[in-house]
């Protein structure tokens, strides 16, 4: 019935395609190649990775990325934090020590928005928060940055926003990576087990 069975088939190659069976040496080489790829994958999976994008520069929003970054580093994660727009201020050595808390836009603030909008109110609410941070022995932003850097967290300052904000590379903490853009962040996110936008 079947007309595609060649007469010359010797019996050990069902289907009898024209392709030649790979030699033993070829198979051995292929196995070796796959094994080396597998060990690369296994080694890669051994390192857990976290990628955070930090976009906010108010005092309250500076804490979450730093707390998560340092804690993940303590878990053995390889952590990168990509700072862009107002998030750059967290890495700015001078500005990071003067981050402000907004007294408007947050209904949980102890003052009504209409009062919070008065001149000088941001300074008042920021001082209140700073006092609480001090009273509670909560780490300062500077401490968290230094600790994270010590633990191997990579802080990246978005080049486009450095120029937009007219900052200088020397304005940032020692150890901060500059000269990176969105593609670097995407690459980190693609490789990461945890990705966060703060």
């Amino acid at each position: 019935m079947s007309t595609d069975t060649p007469d010359s088939t010797t019996g050990d190659a069902p289907g009898g395609d024209a392709e030649e069976a790979p030699s033993r040496a070829e198979l051995a080489a292929r196995v070796e190649e796959l094994e080396s790829q597998l060990s690369e994958v296994a080694a890669d999976e051994g390192t857990k990775k976290m990628s955070i994008v930090a976009t906010k520069g108010t005092l309250d929003m500076a804490y979450p990325p730093l707390i998560l970054a340092s804690t993940a580093a303590a878990f053995g994660y390889e952590v990168t934090v990509f700072h862009t727009f107002w998030g750059l201020d967290i890495l700015h050595e001078e500005r990071s020590k003067n981050l402000k808390l907004s007294s408007v836009g947050n209904p949980n603030m102890p003052v009504p928005n209409v009062v919070g909008a008065l001149p000088g109110m941001d300074r008042v609410t920021t001082s209140m928060m700073e006092k609480r941070i001090d009273d509670n022995d909560t780490a300062t932003i500077e401490e968290l940055i230094e600790t994270s850097l010590d633990m191997g967290v990579e802080f990246q300052a978005c080049q486009m926003t450095i120029e937009l904000m007219d900052y200088d590379e020397d304005d940032f903490y020692d150890g901060v990576t500059t000269g990176v853009g969105a593609a670097t962040a995407i690459q980190d996110m693609a490789d990461a087990d945890i990705q966060l936008l703060v």
């Binding site: 804690t71 580093a73 303590a74 878990f75 022995d137 780490a139 968290l144 633990m151």
Partner: protein, 81 residues
């Protein structure tokens, strides 16, 4: 619970709050040798859950015991590798 192991080092993080107890524990463990036990003294109530979670999620460490004392939480972590 009685303590049945030798303590190689004691880390005092009393007063410190999240994330410092975990972060400093990690650094202190790095300085120990395999098999040694670190005692961590903390006042942060969150340290009970946080240090246990850290030990569970981190390779090379094992939480031996956690003791809730008078205002001080004691944690005993062994470096396993």
């Amino acid at each position: 619970m009685s303590v049945e192991f030798d303590i190689a080092e004691t880390l005092d993080v009393k007063g410190a709050s999240c994330p410092m107890p975990v972060v400093k524990t990690k650094s202190a463990i790095d300085d120990l040798s395999e098999g040694e036990v670190l005692e961590v003294l903390a006042t942060d109530p969150g340290s009970m859950s946080d240090l246990d979670g850290w030990a569970t999620g981190t390779d090379g460490v094992e939480m031996l015991d956690q003791v809730e004392g008078d205002e001080v939480y004691k944690h005993y972590v062994r470096k396993t590798e």
